[in-house]
């Protein structure tokens, strides 16, 4: 991992670097707050899933640095496009955490979805790599309009195998579109290891096929993730086009709450990567820099817990969406005639109960399996 950009050392053999220009104390603290909020959301969501209060959930434990870092580098007017793995990122752009939780509880409409344009955050994208052309389109549109809008899309190592990854990278580079392709290389796509996904050693080198800069960074280091995004954005705003960033890390957690990694990997390996997880590393770094104290850390944690607890209550206060929700927002131009007939049919029979999320799997391979996003 010696070719990776990194700021945070281990307080030991691996030395710290000074924070990069542009990240002042208050920025570092804010970024830390984001990390804590993301972690708190994620851990709470896993518990909610275990309790059967939300459905199967794609956790991101350990990948918070790949989310908070780049997002913090973007301007509010820039667009970002999450996959299911960055599912709660919109919360850092003003979308209520309750909305994201409601999405995982199976709610649609105004309960589970948000307005992408209002927050400049693409909808949570489930089909792999298919949001990359959207990120390109948004930034391209900005360019056509003469605006300074850039975009960033997150995706996994597995996503680089899809045709849409290639087409988006190619469009962006040919048309010099200000898009940042942020690949979270956690070395796994469900059970498929990186070595079965690509013949290259790195993801970054794939940028060469598009004459695009390809940059590797320690994905467990939020500051490094911020820095490479910041620099890519500079280039983008200068009209120098897109950048591919590879945030190298490891999927410490299972693929999702329904996944049992013991079926395909030695969990000791995951354990070995665990000490690198960004939250404790960042907290130690900030403490070494004297920016964070045990007390302020506890305070930040407390605030995050409170915020997410409130979000959980809010999510659970939503009552079962009406049947209209099926038809309400399908067409922006209004309901076609057969929707009225459909509603008449629906209302003529007794309404089924709300479908409740499933509880935890009782044994591996039973019940909940098959729930990937």
């Amino acid at each position: 991992m010696s070719d990776l950009l990194r700021y945070i050392g281990d307080g030991n053999a691996l030395p710290d670097a000074q924070p990069p220009e542009g990240l002042k104390e208050k920025n570092l603290l804010e970024m830390y707050r984001w990390l804590v909020l993301l972690r708190t959301f994620d851990e709470r969501a896993v518990t909610l899933q275990r309790q059967g209060r939300i459905g199967t959930y794609a956790l991101y434990w350990g990948e918070e640095g790949t989310q908070a870092g780049p997002l913090y580098a973007m301007d509010g007017g820039d667009w970002v496009f999450p996959s299911y793995r960055q599912n709660s990122i919109a919360m850092l752009r003003g979308v209520p955490a309750a909305t994201i939780l409601a999405w995982w509880r199976g709610y649609g409409g105004k309960y589970g979805f948000y307005n992408p344009r209002e927050h400049r955050v693409g909808p949570i994208c489930v089909p792999i790599a298919t949001h990359l052309p959207h990120a390109v389109g948004v930034a391209w549109a900005g360019k056509i309009r003469g605006d300074q809008t850039a975009s960033l899309a997150w995706f996994g190592d597995g996503a680089t195998s899809e045709g849409d990854f290639h087409e988006a990278m190619n469009f962006a580079s040919v048309l010099k579109v200000p898009t940042i392709f942020f690949c979270v290389n956690n070395q796994w796509a469900i059970s498929t290891p990186l070595s079965k996904q690509t013949a290259t050693r790195t993801i970054a080198e794939k940028a060469r096929a598009y004459n695009m800069p390809g940059i590797r960074v320690d994905g467990f280091d939020p500051i490094a993730c911020w820095k490479v995004t910041h620099d890519a954005l500079d280039r983008a705003r200068n009209g120098e086009g897109p950048t591919l960033i590879e945030a190298f890390c490891y999927r410490i957690a299972p693929h999702g709450t329904a996944d049992d990694p013991r079926l395909y990997r030695d969990e000791n390996e995951a354990e070995q990567w665990k000490p690198l997880e960004p939250l404790s590393r960042m907290s130690r770094y900030l403490k070494r820099l004297g920016i964070l104290s045990d007390e302020s850390a506890a305070e930040i944690e407390g605030e995050a817990k409170e915020q997410i607890a409130a979000a959980v209550s809010e999510m659970e206060s939503i009552s079962h969406p009406d049947q209209d929700i099926l038809f309400d927002t399908v067409y922006a131009s209004g309901r076609p005639w057969m929707f009225e007939e459909a509603l008449r049919e629906l209302r003529s029979v007794e309404r089924p109960d709300e479908v409740k999320p499933l509880g935890p799997p009782t044994s591996p391979g039973a019940g909940e399996e098959g729930k990937t996003q």
């Binding site: 667009w79 649609g108 409409g109 105004k110 979805f113 948000y114 307005n115 992408p116 344009r117 209002e118 693409g122 909808p123 089909p127 298919t130 990359l132 052309p133 959207h134 990120a135 390109v136 389109g137 948004v138 930034a139 391209w140 549109a141 900005g142 360019k143 056509i144 309009r145 809008t149 975009s151 045709g163 849409d164 087409e167 988006a168 190619n170 469009f171 040919v174 048309l175 309400d328 927002t329 399908v330 067409y331 922006a332 131009s333 209004g334 076609p336 005639w337 057969m338």
Partner: protein, 335 residues
């Protein structure tokens, strides 16, 4: 002015781009040459190469980036060079274009138009003659339309661009240059003010020929054939057929469809696409469901067959002909 369908769509595109600077046109070979059918000719010179773009050769990339553009607030019109080359973009159309409104509280629909020159009758090699419209009609969240006259094509392309929802715009290439019709100088609606008049021009069927003995439903390149068949039926057996040009394939204009079936008591659907699970199946089901007691015979279907579109020397064996339509009508009439 007089215009054929190519010129009429071209005119509509000019008008839309003129009225609303959010409209952009993109696709393979659409800018410099104006497209392999010249439908987009002149746009680049008029509106510049930022708004009229020759893209790399990748249909998913075209539709996908158009979706992103529309999120930002533009109104992209994409061209798929030929029918069968829409399939690589199928995933973007189905999982994104069709669901973006639904996925954004109805607030950010994918306001894109996907133009598809489609269908046979033009003596092309393999995969240049498909009729995939039913595939899109079955996908909720899309609108699917298909003009059969130059003026309809001009008005409908403008309405499709104005419509906030994603519109699959099927262009029957066989009749691209079949006739030159009078096109009013001004389109019938105000453009670029988002006042919603698009719906009126997009989702309505049209009675192309009046009559009360047999309803013939069709769209696209088979409409002129149905009109010829209707004339033959009038001559040969004094039957007065009403020809309904569906124009909108999703949503279907159920009122005009029902009215025709009720008033005629007999009906026939005609299209070029394969029969099984095609538009004909849907129209037939609707008519039976709603007008059973008014029907004196089951609704007939004259369609393409459930086979790959043939190599062109045999395409007339595949395509519905006036003879086949008349024969189909006779089967319904003689039931």
């Amino acid at each position: 002015m007089k215009a054929n369908m190519v010129e009429a769509i071209n005119k509509g595109l000019h008008e839309a781009m003129e009225a609303d600077d959010r409209v952009v046109v993109m696709g393979e070979d659409v800018a410099q040459t104006g497209g392999v059918f010249r439908v987009t000719a002149g746009l680049k010179d008029r509106f510049g190469d930022a708004r009229v773009v020759d893209t790399p050769l990748a249909e998913a990339g075209i539709v996908g980036s158009a979706i992103g553009m529309s999120m930002y607030g533009l109104l992209p019109v994409t061209e798929m060079q030929f029918d069968a080359f829409t399939y690589p973009a199928f995933e973007q159309i189905v999982t994104h274009a069709a669901r973006l409104a639904w996925r954004s509280r109805g607030e950010v629909p994918a306001s894109i138009v996907v133009r598809i020159p489609y269908g046979g009758g033009v003596r092309m090699p393999e995969l240049h003659s498909d009729s995939p419209e039913a595939l899109f009609v079955h996908v909720p969240g899309l609108k699917v339309v298909c003009p059969s006259t130059p003026e309809d094509a001009r008005v409908m392309i403008i309405a499709a661009i104005e419509d906030p929802d994603p519109v699959i715009f099927m262009e029957p290439k066989k009749i691209y240059r079949a006739s030159r019709d009078e096109i009013p100088d001004q389109p019938p609606m105000a453009i670029g003010n988002g006042n919603g008049s698009y719906n009126e021009y997009l989702c309505k069927a049209r009675v192309a020929r009046d009559g009360n003995d047999l309803a013939i439903y069709s769209y696209g390149a088979t409409v002129p054939l149905c009109l010829q068949a209707a004339d033959r039926l009038a001559q040969e057996r004094n039957v007065d057929a009403r020809v309904v040009d569906l124009r909108s394939l999703f949503p279907l204009d159920v009122d005009i469809i029902e009215e025709a079936a009720r008033e005629c008591g007999r009906a026939l659907v005609v299209h070029e696409a394969p029969r099984t699970a095609g538009i004909g199946a849907e129209v037939s089901s609707l008519v039976h469901e709603r007008c059973m007691l008014d029907l004196e015979a089951p609704v007939g279907r004259v369609t393409g067959y459930d086979v790959p579109f043939p190599q062109f020397a045999n395409e007339d064996d595949y395509l519905p002909s006036v003879d086949r339509i008349v024969a189909g009508a006779n089967r319904v009439l003689d039931f």
